[in-house]
């Protein structure tokens, strides 16, 4: 075995690596379904309960207990398969994957082997180029299958936090038996320097699809969406290289970083004439690098065979067609359509998505608010209000009708942006409708010029040297007087009208 097999720490730069090698990526994504009960028993799937409080004879694998498949989970995976343009099996079986590990109470996992329920799909993802444009990349899906999650091990003592070397280990079976869907891509080729971005965009798109379908809360930080990234490099024109499988990739940013770092690492090994070992690697969020784990050469034989305690899954084709009709349009394609309709850039659309206000903007537009106006308020003042209150924006009690009314009042000059913020504040505090808040807080723009002129005269009197400058023709000095008037009227004045009045009062023309 050459020394290059072992811990290579030197890397070549990403850009340099891609001048010599083509990456092939493959992604395995696990999604915990958001069903109320577990895959094979009635236990709750609620996250965060005290350890081993959501368990029963079935998910603890007590002798004699038997699984019963969760029909809702089957429905969820079929909807996922349909959203990913897969073929749905008319008859398939669950299989036992046999291996001993204490987080798995039966010492086998009920999964699927050679009869996955969904096969041969695809997903088009929009991948941002460096120049800000986007590219549509088709990711082919090999299979989507159903399985159960394992329990959670906590290793106490020892240096590594791994089972070997630990003083003792604690097992929480609350997670054991939670329905899990595994989505496996076919090898993704030809993406070159876009490979990390494709991986990230694909996982993000999957996350959005799952959320849209309502089948999972897809929280990567709670582990309800987990990604393993396979990667190999080959010299252009050559056969594919040996692949590694990187685990522990638990955020979108990490997906991108893990692929990038593994490209750099493998390139360095290959540059030195080394050999890539087929192995599992672990991604470290803190350092951004992968380190070797279990070698696949010593991989276990899982002794798969059809699960004899469950009857085959045979979804009624008519029911599948009914589900197909209910699948919403793919999120990125829908967003692209909306961006065109609203006349905004992909970048602006992405900021709405990242801010979590796209659905709110859509709802406001559906209520008749102009897209620009809806965006302005939701991405601006209302988002700020939500952040100040520490709640997600969708929890703000502001309707499309409220935004519409504020917009009307601004158009007629009855409100300005400054006042509108105060109006929304009042609405959110439950002070009533937009008109109620305007009336109660006295927020209308001052249209009585007598009142404005009195305020202007007072401001000019307060700052006589400024008044002199204005009279001497230094029009720019008027800003200080406008400020004084706005202050005196608590923002209720129309600043441009005030400016006009100041200039005519000082007998200079703007």
């Amino acid at each position: 075995m050459s020394s290059a097999h072992n811990h290579v720490t030197t890397t070549v730069s990403f850009d340099e690596a891609l001048t010599r090698y083509d990456p092939v990526i493959g992604l395995e994504v696990h999604v915990e379904l958001g069903t109320a009960s577990k895959m094979f028993c009635a236990c709750s799937t609620e996250f965060g309960a005290p350890p081993n409080t959501q368990v029963c004879p079935v998910c603890l694998a007590l002798p004699g207990a038997m699984p019963v498949i969760n029909a809702k989970a089957v429905e969820s995976i079929i909807r996922m398969g349909l959203a990913l343009h897969c073929s749905i099996a008319t008859w398939c079986r669950m299989a036992r994957k046999n291996y001993f590990y204490p987080d798995m109470p039966k010492n086998f996992q009920i999964s699927q082997y050679d009869e996955p329920i969904c096969t041969d799909g695809w997903l088009d993802v929009l991948v941002p180029n460096e120049d800000g444009s986007t590219e549509l990349v088709r990711v082919e899906i090999e299979r989507v299958h159903l399985e159960e999650d394992t329990g959670k091990l906590t290793h106490a003592g020892g240096a590594t936090g791994r089972i070997h070397g630990a003083d003792y280990s604690l097992v929480d079976y609350n997670r054991a038996g939670i329905p899990l869907v595994e989505i496996v891509t076919k090898p993704i080729t030809g993406t070159a320097a876009l490979a990390p971005a494709v991986a990230k965009a694909y996982v993000a798109e999957l996350r959005d699809i799952m959320r849209d379908l309502g089948v999972s809360d897809v929280k990567m930080e709670e582990g309800s969406l987990r990604c393993d990234a396979n990667l190999s490099l080959n010299i252009p024109g050559d056969a594919w290289g040996t692949r590694t499988e990187t685990k522990n990739v638990n955020s979108l940013r990490s997906v991108e970083r893990a692929v990038r770092s593994e490209i750099e690492r493998q390139a360095a090994v290959l540059d030195k004439g080394g050999v890539i070992r087929q192995e599992t690697r672990h991604f470290h969020e803190d350092t951004g690098v992968t380190t070797p784990g279990r070698s696949k050469e010593e991989a276990e034989d899982y002794r798969y065979f059809p699960e004899p305690d469950l009857v085959p899954i045979a979804p009624d084709p008519a029911w599948v067609e009914k589900l197909r009709a209910s699948i919403p349009q793919q999120p990125s394609l829908r967003r692209a359509g909306l961006a065109t309709a609203w006349g905004i850039s992909a970048f602006d659309m992405e900021s709405l998505v990242n801010a979590g206000v796209l659905a709110l903007v859509e709802a406001a537009v559906a209520d008749g608010v102009a897209p620009d106006t809806a965006r302005k308020w939701w991405a601006g003042e209302l988002l700020r209000q939500a952040n100040d209150r520490g709640v997600p924006p969708q929890e703000l009690a502001v309707t499309g009708a409220d935004i519409l009314r504020v917009d009307e009042l601004i158009a007629t000059g009855a409100l300005n942006d400054q006042l509108a913020r105060q109006v929304f504040d009042g609405v959110l505090l439950g002070e009533g409708s937009v008109d109620d808040v305007v009336a109660a807080r006295g927020l209308g723009v001052v249209t009585d010029e007598t009142e404005l002129l009195a305020a202007i005269d007072q401001a000019l009197a307060d700052q006589p040297e400024v008044a002199e400058k204005i009279r001497a023709g230094k029009i720019a000095a008027a800003g200080a007087i406008v400020g004084g008037v706005m202050k005196a009227t608590r923002g209720r004045a129309d600043a441009s009208r005030v400016r006009e009045l100041i200039l005519s009062r000082c007998e200079v023309s703007g």
């Binding site: 004879p57 007590l62 002798p63 039966k106 004899p308």
Partner: protein
């Protein structure tokens, strides 16, 4: 034919309670002639008197049995409706989970385990007010044909205490044959109800696969296991059958259809016009002459009763044993993986710093007996990558061919018959070190388990060679369990007329 079935009906209830049939006891309790407590106490006394020699029981639940009997008596006194078997004692095979009562499966590895839940069968027995006396001995995890593989010592055949009572459910059969209980529950994976019934001169039934819930039955081979009734008369077995059979949503493989009226069939006891097939492959070489002699006589009786006897060919039955000893070990290697010392039962931890693999391996090494280990190894091998198609895959194909043999046969005849076993009860120790010879004892019973249909064994006389009981097996199509009782009860009644008593009455006094 007679509408009132014949049996050991003793009108004088002052006579020994333990020699009565279950139905006679139930009627006596219902009429107030005797209390459920008296009946239960009589059986507990009998256990106390003979079980040291028979060793049918691993655990006797005296207090709970008497308490339940008292509740039945209170119900009767209050004028409540009682079930057809209310107050009748029963012996439960130690493979069925019963809340708070030791359930060992005849293994050291489950020593001390108290199930926190009831199997569906136990729930149904309780609901029917059947009194569970305790748990009966068995070959470890139901692997064996003699009870000699029980970790707690063998049971003894009441006909000759130096002989085996059959297995794996030898404890249940011996309890019934020794008048320790009029009823028992067994489980039958390859003959574990029928073979002990044949060897002890009692009645045992393997119902159609999926007609009796497996929830709470500790799995040996999930696709073969089926619980069923043991009794001294066909009618008693029919009553017990009707209590335990029926759809259970906790068992996915449970058939959701009406249970055939087995009690009505046992009462009808009529074979006139029935076509009865003799399976060519289940006779001749390997069968003791004494067994064949009694079998042929019984077939003659059936012909005299008005049945038409036809010989049928089931060519793939010759391969049944090979297929069975691949499918069973494969499933069992996976089903028994959960016994690892992590959650319940035995845990072997020598020294404080033993790692998880060591604890699991040592626990299994110490906890399992030789036959269990043998079959786990066989199954692990048969499921291994590269061998799966040659072993498990081929065995499944044979299974399909056996199902086709049955289908073809039942196109020609209404039921099939054969000797239940090739031999009478053999002496303790004779085959314990010769697994293949032991396996051959199930040669006639295995095809039904592979095909999933149903069969009944009833006593048809004593072998002239050794004076030990011989059993006849009736086989019927899936969900035609009523035919078993129609034929079984007719033959039993005719033999009763001939002998003037049940065969079991000829067993030597203990």
């Amino acid at each position: 034919m007679n509408s009132t079935p014949k049996g050991p009906v003793n009108p004088d209830m002052a006579a020994d309670l333990i020699r009565q049939s279950a139905r006679v006891l139930a009627e006596a309790i219902k009429s107030g002639e005797v209390s459920a407590r008296e009946v239960t106490q009589a059986h507990l006394d009998r256990i106390g008197a003979v079980d040291e020699r028979v060793h049918a029981f691993l655990h006797v639940d005296t207090d709970a049995a008497l308490a339940h009997a008292d509740r039945v008596d209170v119900k009767r006194a209050a004028g409540e409706q009682l079930g057809d078997l209310a107050g009748v004692p029963l012996a439960l095979k130690d493979i069925l989970a019963m809340k708070g009562v030791p359930t060992t499966c005849g293994s050291k590895i489950l020593q001390g385990w108290l199930p926190p839940y009831d199997s569906t069968i136990v729930e149904r027995l309780r609901a029917a007010d059947i009194i569970i006396l305790g748990k009966t001995n068995m070959d470890e995890f139901a692997m064996g044909s003699s009870t000699e593989y029980s970790a707690y010592g063998p049971s003894h055949n009441p006909w000759d205490l130096n002989r085996i009572p059959g297995g794996s459910g030898g404890g249940s059969a011996a309890a019934v044959a020794a008048f320790e209980a009029p009823l028992a529950i067994g489980t039958d994976t390859g003959g574990s109800i029928r073979q002990p019934a044949a060897l002890t001169g009692t009645v045992g039934v393997k119902p159609t696969y999926g007609s009796v819930s497996r929830y709470g039955l500790v799995a040996l081979a999930s696709s073969l296991d089926q619980a069923g009734p043991c009794a001294r008369t066909v009618l008693d077995a029919a009553y017990l059958h009707s209590v335990i059979a029926g759809h259970d949503p906790h068992d996915s493989t449970s058939i959701n259809a009406a249970v055939p009226d087995v009690v009505a069939a046992a009462m009808k006891a009529d074979v006139r016009g029935l076509r009865i097939g003799l399976v060519k492959q289940l006779s001749g070489a390997g069968y003791q002459p004494g067994v064949l002699q009694r079998f042929n006589e019984a077939v003659d009786v059936l012909a005299q009763l008005g049945a038409e006897i036809v010989e049928v060919d089931c060519p793939h039955f010759d391969e049944a044993m090979s297929a069975y000893y691949l499918i069973l070990p494969s499933e069992c290697s996976s089903n028994l993986a959960r016994f690892d010392g992590m959650r319940y039962g035995l845990r072997v931890q020598d020294g404080g710093d033993a790692g998880v693999e060591t604890v699991m391996a040592d626990t299994r090494e110490m906890g399992f007996g030789p036959e269990v280990k043998r079959r786990i190894m066989l199954g692990t091998y048969a499921l291994s990558s590269g061998y799966y198609d040659a072993y498990y895959g081929q065995a499944q194909k044979i299974r399909t061919l056996i199902i086709e043999d049955f289908t073809r046969a039942f196109g020609q005849v209404d039921v099939l018959v054969s000797p239940t076993t090739p031999t009478t009860a053999f002496p303790l120790g004779e085959k314990v070190d010769d697994p293949l010879a032991m396996y051959l004892n199930d040669i006639a019973t295995i095809p039904v388990n592979l095909a999933g249909n149903c069969a009944l064994s009833l006593p048809i006389g004593l072998s002239p060679a050794d004076g030990l009981p011989v059993g006849l097996q009736v086989m019927a199509p899936t969900m035609a369990d009523d035919r078993l009782y129609l034929v079984g009860a007719a033959l039993e009644s005719a033999l009763f007329d001939r002998w003037g008593h049940l065969l079991i009455e000829e067993a030597p006094a203990l």
